[in-house]
Symmetry: C2
Subunit: 342 residues, 2 copies
């Protein structure tokens, strides 16, 4: 079975992480350790509040520095995961210092001349960067990891997708809040959420981003626009419904695919997915064993299963279910894979 | 706003509840109390294990009797919620005793001459019963409560639905298991599930029913077949994905509708839903406030929102989100409403 791979740059790099203390920032360090990524120097950057504290890397304490416009001197690759406004504030200084900025926020995803990359799908675009490369939204990455291997061979006309999104997408505070809310409900106590607009435990709610005049939330709009940009095809119809569920760190998605031509067989689709790097097929009908967030958590691969011809319209459509770690393939892993392309 | 209503029979009835101690059985008692349903006598039936214990009804203790073939003498209406095999075992005796059996299991749902009824949708079929009336599957009821008001005026060609199903569908043991599993995970302890095949807390999984050769699970097949029977229309394409999520007692469903003709406007759909008994429209884009299981829990009405033209194909399709109490409209309430038609 193909496994998610991280390409290594030809020589060790000077790397900076902006937002090192966040949920994604911590995953960068774990991936670099596990993967033995060739690093010449590692700079951990965060807000003034965290500056001076330390984080462990390969057994050593690294002192966190305050993120400033002067942070990027001598840096080859700057991994940003600190939100759009921080990226926008420091992007010019980063690029001016000669570093390549790989950004996990939505700041520049839809900007012309900023490649939006999933390394298994469009790695060739990395070479066109002009200082900034954007990491797609987590839900988009996880969806396209399941859809692209099929689409490549059997073009897709329409994707109807409903997500089951973990708390981690809103940061570690949101993961903690989900645990606290769960404990409060188990104890029959009131809980007032601070990170999320509603109590997340034993509940679910529309993705907590603004709704525009189409009635779609920002997360859903990202899935539409980013899919068009990554696949360089704005003819694919994408209809997303993004929902937060009480899960800690892996997103799941129920995906309905309508094809331009006839739908491929289940066997063909299974083979295409099995052969695709970064995908693990989990599809045991007899044991009723399919992708689950607890299995996808802390996994590099996205799990795909429930591969079946659409019972409503088997000639034209298929259905799938995918679970992928939001912090890894949905964020930190994808960004490190991009770094490996440089 | 129209509210779910329970019609009352013309005169008080002798009622028996088979499976009185279960999650749905307990809801029958609550509904009868809240609604002042006209009851001449009430018999609570369960397995020998529970016989002799009592349940409160309107402040009085009622002794639970063992369910036997002789339980139904003098009974007008027998509400069964004890699983398919119990229904099959006792249905003949019930009908022979002259009682009308309203069954919450799947035993006779697809049987000819057994009406399958959602009282807001096809109440007229109640009069055709030959002793047994079936209560549809919870996911089917909640979906059709949202779809039928629209379909009635703007015929639907295809329904693509992904569910977010509560533990209650598997009984109160499943609800307890979800709480225990949550506590174990919060305490970093191992948890071995007994009711569900997988740990339900902070996780989700394919509906725990058998998968047939189509790749669909039984719950999904029910949604397809029951929709065709209830709407007396097997041309509607239904493509379901049924998923268990860590929610206690309300199911949610993300619904994509493709119409035979052009899609109606959001305003038209909202009006149709607002005017339909048993539906409450919850759709506040500005406050990002939409149907949530915690709001739907213990509510008679199903909550519908996220009403929007499909961003992929606005001319032909729409999207919706519904949450409904699985134990009430998905089970006990619908059955009591059927009893009210007799």
């Amino acid at each position: 079975m193909a496994k998610s791979k991280i390409k290594h740059p030809s020589e060790p790099k000077n790397i900076a992480i902006a937002g090192a203390t966040g949920a994604v920032g911590q995953e960068f360090l774990k991936i670099f350790e596990q993967d033995n990524f060739p690093i010449k120097s590692l700079k951990l950057l965060a807000s003034a509040r965290s500056a001076g504290t330390t984080m462990k890397f390969n057994g050593e304490d690294i002192i966190i520095e305050e993120l400033t416009e002067k942070s990027f001197e001598g840096v080859d690759i700057a991994l940003f995961s600190a939100g759009s406004s921080i990226t926008k504030k420091f992007s010019q200084a980063t690029v001016d210092a000669g570093a390549v900025l790989i950004d996990n926020s939505s700041a520049y995803r839809m900007t012309d001349n900023v490649p939006l990359i999933i390394p298994e799908i469009n790695p060739q675009e990395a070479k066109n960067h002009q200082g900034i490369i954007a990491n797609p939204n987590c839900s988009t990455i996880i969806m396209l990891m399941a859809v692209f291997p099929i689409h490549q061979k059997f073009p897709v006309k329409k994707i109807i997708v409903s997500t089951y999104q973990a708390a981690s997408g809103a940061g570690w505070e949101a993961m903690e809040e989900l645990k606290h809310a769960s404990q409060a409900i188990l104890d029959n106590k009131e809980f007032i959420p601070k990170v999320f607009p509603f109590v997340g435990a034993f509940n679910l709610f529309n993705h907590n981003t603004n709704i525009d005049e189409t009635g779609y939330n920002e997360e859903e709009i990202k899935m539409v626009k980013e899919t068009h940009k990554i696949l360089r095809n704005d003819q694919i119809l994408v209809s997303p419904t993004c929902v937060r569920v009480p899960v800690l760190r892996a997103h799941s998605e129920s995906i309905h695919l309508e094809f331009v031509g006839d739908a491929p067989s289940e066997k063909e689709v299974t083979k295409l997915l099995q052969d695709f790097s970064g995908i693990k097929v989990v599809d045991d009908r007899e044991k009723n064993y399919f992708p689950m967030p607890i299995d996808a958590s802390e996994e590099y691969d996205c799990l795909v299963g429930r591969i079946r011809k659409d019972i409503g319209d088997p000639k034209k459509s298929m259905e799938l279910f995918v679970s992928g770690d939001q912090l890894l393939k949905g964020a930190a892993l994808n960004a490190v894979q991009i770094a490996g392309l440089l």
